[in-house]
């Protein structure tokens, strides 16, 4: 469904992605893990069109998307929940959701929009309670839920999630991973997930990539990754004692 081949990217003069290749098959959940600053978020930004591609190719369902702008990619079915809760802070929760469903509204009209918003409220009841509050005044976790809900509003086929569990309470994290699982089980959603909580991510993922300083260093099945000694030590936090000793 999605394929990156030898992709490079720069921030100014800094070379942040170096020949990154990865692919995500339809219906799969793939996770991307790696240390801070490895370039995971950049990879997602690049797929969703926020970051420009220098060299290499990016295809979505066989179509070259490396030159397509972010807003058009949404139309193709790619939704991106960026890190740090990019919501419209001075607008109300409901307005945020409406905007999330902008394309839906444009194609299917107001009714469908209302219906989908209700669906989201059913999924995230706390947002319903905060309906008319300014999004910027929500608690961190509430904002994260809103961000995810906004992305789901336009019924994407490929969902790019950047650290969705960041700052969320364990219960909610479980809930969010459940939701991802559910969406995936419904069969029509493909997920590319960037996570620090590698444990949880690998549990729901089919495959995983490990990234370090702008390069993909490992690609394996999720289960295999969980057993990989290197990965365990670096990202899973297992065997802490072992670490302490080191």
């Amino acid at each position: 469904m999605l394929r990156l081949v030898n992709v490079n990217s720069y921030y100014g003069l800094v070379h942040v992605l170096k020949n990154v290749s990865l692919h995500v098959n339809k219906g799969e959940t793939v996770t991307l893990i790696g240390a801070n600053g490895a370039g995971k978020s950049t990879t997602l930004r690049l797929i969703s069109g926020l970051q420009s591609v220098k060299g290499g190719e990016v295809t979505f369902e066989g179509k070259d998307i490396s030159r397509i702008s972010a807003e058009k990619l949404v139309k193709l079915g790619i939704a991106h929940v960026p890190e740090n809760r990019q919501i419209f802070r001075p607008m109300t929760v409901i307005e945020n959701l409406e905007l999330g469903g902008y394309l839906l509204y444009k194609e299917n009209g107001k009714k469908e929009l209302g219906k989908t918003i209700d669906e989201m409220f059913a999924r995230f009841p706390i947002l319903k309670e905060r309906e008319n509050q300014l999004a910027g005044t929500l608690s961190g976790g509430e904002q994260q839920m809103l961000a995810i809900a906004m992305a789901l509003m336009c019924r994407p086929r490929l969902l790019l999630l950047d650290e969705p569990s960041m700052g969320l309470a364990p219960l909610i994290v479980k809930e969010i991973f459940n939701i991802i699982n559910e969406l995936k089980d419904q069969g029509d959603l493909t997920v590319l997930l960037v996570e620090q909580n590698a444990n949880a991510a690998l549990k729901i993922a089919d495959r995983g990539y490990v990234m370090e300083t702008g390069k993909i260093i490992i690609e394996e099945d999720a289960e295999a990754l969980m057993k990989n000694q290197e990965v365990k030590r670096a990202y899973l936090g297992h065997d802490k004692r072992e670490m302490w000793e080191k």
């Binding site: 801070n36 600053g37 936090g237």
Partner: protein, 253 residues
């Protein structure tokens, strides 16, 4: 007997209709690591904002070493020796890493606008001292190599470390951490945990808000659980882990 460093009495904060903190009573022992956990929107950050003067309470009292600090401005509270970090990291991204920490020495240095104007930096003793101290703290968090990098281009984990070092440079008596490990991977979380341990050893009291249970259980002396702005439980990590209320409200099965 252990001394109390911080005390909340019937603390209350309303935002319009929303009661973010509701009749909270709680104490923090000097020299301890006290953790506050609770669901999203429970009011944890609000408690920090009240403690550091960014918000003022609707009702109730906050006492630091027995003195009420309700009405003080953030910078006054900082000068009493309370430092904090932010849930959304707030480093000064228009400055280098070293300068970020040098700013942290603000309260420990004196020169005012007039003397700063007249005396060039290389003739000023204080300036050298500030720089030395800042380098020391940079060493402490293990980021000495990054000193000249612009803080804005650091990866998140390092920004959090930097924020902590900046707070430490104040040499506070009490330090409040708002989710220091969020967005960090297990290895980095471990490093933060280690750092917090070191901070405690140096005699600074720590209050910690965090969602990473492993970290909480690892390093806390006391855990308080907040829901809907009130305390629903308080105890040692072991006690909390098996508390039914906490499990249903927060941890999940």
């Amino acid at each position: 007997m252990v001394e109390t460093i911080l005390e909340y009495q019937e603390l209350q904060k309303n935002f319009g209709g929303v009661v973010a903190v509701n009749k909270l009573n709680m104490t923090v022992d000097i020299g301890s690591i006290t953790s506050i956990i609770g669901p999203n929107g429970a009011g944890k950050t609000t408690i920090f904002n009240l403690t550091t003067g960014f918000l003022s309470p609707t009702a109730g009292n906050i006492k630091f070493f027995g003195n009420s600090i309700n009405q003080l401005k953030p910078h006054n509270i900082a000068s009493l020796g309370i430092a904090r970090t932010f849930q959304n990291v707030q480093v000064f991204d228009n400055m280098s890493v070293l300068e970020n920490i040098m700013v942290g020495r603000h309260l420990r240095s004196k020169s005012g606008i007039l003397s700063s104007t007249i005396i060039p930096p290389f003739l000023r003793k204080e300036e050298k001292h500030i720089k030395r101290e800042a380098e020391k703290w940079l060493e402490f968090i293990g980021m000495a190599d990054d000193s000249q990098i612009s803080a804005g281009s650091l990866p998140l984990g390092k920004q959090r470390m930097l924020e902590i070092a900046r707070a430490l440079a104040m040499e506070p008596k009490l330090i409040l951490f708002d989710e220091p490990a969020s967005g960090l991977n297990a290895r980095e979380t471990l490093a933060i945990g280690e750092l917090i341990g070191k901070i405690k050893e140096s005699g600074v009291t720590v209050v910690l808000v965090e969602h990473d249970m492993e970290l909480i259980m690892d390093i806390s002396d006391i855990v308080a659980v907040i829901n809907f702005g009130t305390r629903i439980a308080m105890g040692t990590p072991a006690e909390i882990q098996i508390n039914e209320d906490v499990i249903t409200a927060y941890l999940g099965d």
